[in-house]
């Protein structure tokens, strides 16, 4: 909460300072205009370096903590959600990342990791129903000759990718499940990276949620 308020104050200060430089510049002599610009520059330096050095993300002045955490070398990485569709034969299928649009897969998985356990059962069912319907809608689109569309049809394959790459597993129609999903399951995957290097199937999978419409 504090960070949100401080970030907003910093952003307002940035915009106000910039507008002052832009609009009062024409009415000031060059020395005063230079002084005003200097104050604005100092303000921007202060905000941006404060965000970075304190590692408080004052977006859009970011602290950029990119990959700034260690991966456990010997142990297991934190559990990672994985969403599966289940057909009427009980077979589980991975779902193409494009099915969750407008949600990017990494945003959806992070939201599940952070918030899903805190929801009551009726809210979880709402999420389950939404995701199941999105997965089925995407499955139907994927088996058509046009396939799953890009977020922007104009850009097509030149659409800007998200921060994390994801395999487009439903790119060819033969990889798309033939029958609709009747159930949605969310698992948590965890593994030891050294063990999985030797055996890619060595993953512990725990079911945390299943949704089947009544």
């Amino acid at each position: 909460m504090k960070t949100n308020i401080v970030s907003l104050i910093c952003f307002i200060a940035f915009v106000t300072g910039g507008l002052l430089v832009a609009f009062t510049g024409a009415f000031l002599c060059s020395a005063r205009r230079r002084r005003l610009t200097n104050i604005f520059l100092l303000l921007v330096l202060f905000i941006s370096f404060a965000a970075g050095f304190t590692q408080h993300n004052l977006w859009p002045f970011s602290s950029w903590p990119v990959l700034a955490y260690p991966v456990p070398t010997g142990g297991r990485y934190l559990p990672l959600p994985r969403i599966m569709g289940v057909d009427d034969g009980g077979r589980e299928h991975d779902v193409d990342y494009r099915a969750w649009r407008p949600l990017a897969l990494e945003e959806l998985l992070s939201w599940i990791k952070l918030n899903f356990a805190r929801l009551d059962s009726s809210s979880r069912d709402q999420v389950g129903a939404y995701l199941l319907s999105a997965a089925n809608r995407a499955r139907e689109q994927a088996i058509t000759p046009a396939g799953l569309p890009y977020p922007n049809r104009l850009f097509g394959p030149l659409t800007a990718p998200t921060h994390m790459m994801h395999p487009a597993i439903w790119s060819s129609p033969e990889n798309v499940p033939r029958t609709p999903f009747v159930e949605l399951r969310i698992y948590e995957d965890t593994w030891n990276i050294e063990e999985r290097r030797l055996d890619p199937k060595k993953v512990d999978r725990v079911l945390i949620f299943a949704y089947r419409p009544r």
């Binding site: 909460m1 832009a22 004052l58 990119v66 955490y69 994985r82 407008p102 999420v127 921060h163 395999p167």
Partner: protein, 319 residues
């Protein structure tokens, strides 16, 4: 002893921010950020995020919503705002009311960009529009419309070099190098220097190539993971490169060597770790657009490069 002399610092400050600079560099920055931001904005479905079922928004802190003036459940309104932002970005790139276009698009992106991740995190860094927001606003505060615009005033020869064209470009360059500097600083301050160790890099490579939901490329990542020396080189090289890029602000040599290497650096990260960093085209603000324009001109007219004295002067100064 020079360092203790305040006048030395004042002189350095003035030389850095207010050396006479070219209007072309500022205009090029406006076009780069306009086109780039439009590409990223239209590649996302930010308006539809507002229409997600309310349960997805139920755990979002009210201050985070207020901070960005986001009211979930209004995808139609957000679509209109995306449309206005797109028009403003086109205006910024084409030079139609350039300063107003930059201001409107910067403010709207401040509202729209967080929609992508706001359901779980209030700061959408590394998703492509962070620098765009502050860069477009910075451009709107500056004389970015004096050159390369569709309006009559921006056509013809660019105005003579002026300090008003320098400080905004310097700020944009600063925003970009801060990404790398603070990324390295965060690694060292949160994890420690052992972030650069071979075992840590091996773990990162393995995790990124084993996680099936992001595994698109895996050959380079596993190749590096299997070679301790390569892991150490990647770790140390990353920190040296990320900290070292700051020198591109002050040294022409560093700009020539390090800035092009950024593209290679991100290609390596993409192929080994499946992580995309979209901001690479923004590094074109480090280019000297006077020289590039002169070369382009000579190519188009098949004439030897003729560089007027003013251009030579500009080339010596900035960027």
């Amino acid at each position: 002893m020079k360092l203790l002399d305040p006048s030395w610092w004042i002189l350095g400050w003035d030389r850095f921010w207010f050396a006479p600079g070219s209007a072309r560099n500022l205009a090029a920055a406006r076009i780069i950020f306009g086109v780039y931001s439009l590409w990223v904005l239209l590649s996302r479905n930010v308006a539809e995020m507002s229409g997600l079922p309310p349960v997805f928004w139920s755990k979002v802190d009210a201050t985070a919503l207020w901070r960005y003036l986001v009211v979930p459940g209004h995808p139609g309104l957000e679509r209109v705002l995306v449309g206005i932002a797109s028009l403003a970005l086109l205006g910024a790139a084409a030079g139609i009311l350039p300063r107003l276009s930059c201001l409107v698009s910067g403010l709207l992106l401040y509202h729209l960009a967080p929609l992508e991740s706001l359901i779980w995190i209030p700061h959408p860094y590394a998703r492509g529009l962070t620098i765009s927001v502050i860069a477009l606003l910075t451009l709107s505060f500056s004389r970015c419309g004096d050159c390369w615009t569709l309006t009559r005033s921006g056509k013809g020869n660019p105005p003579s070099p002026n300090s008003d064209y320098t400080w905004p470009i310097r700020l944009l360059q600063l925003y970009l190098v801060q990404i790398y500097f603070f990324s390295a600083y965060a690694k060292v301050s949160i994890v420690g220097w052992q972030w650069a160790s071979g075992p840590n890099i091996r773990s990162w490579m393995l995790w990124c190539t084993e996680e099936e939901q992001i595994r698109v490329f895996h050959t380079l990542g596993t190749w590096i993971a299997d070679r301790p020396l390569a892991c150490w080189c990647v770790g140390i090289g990353t920190l040296v490169f990320e900290f070292g890029l700051f020198t591109a602000l002050f040294s022409k040599w560093a700009r020539w060597v390090l800035v092009p290497l950024v593209a290679l650096f991100h290609a390596g990260i993409l192929l080994s770790m499946n992580l995309v960093f979209l901001n690479v085209p923004q590094l074109l603000v480090f280019a000297n657009w006077d020289v590039l324009a002169a070369r382009m001109n000579s190519l188009l007219h098949r004439a030897p490069v003729e560089r007027p004295e003013s251009t030579l002067k500009e080339a010596r100064t900035l960027p």
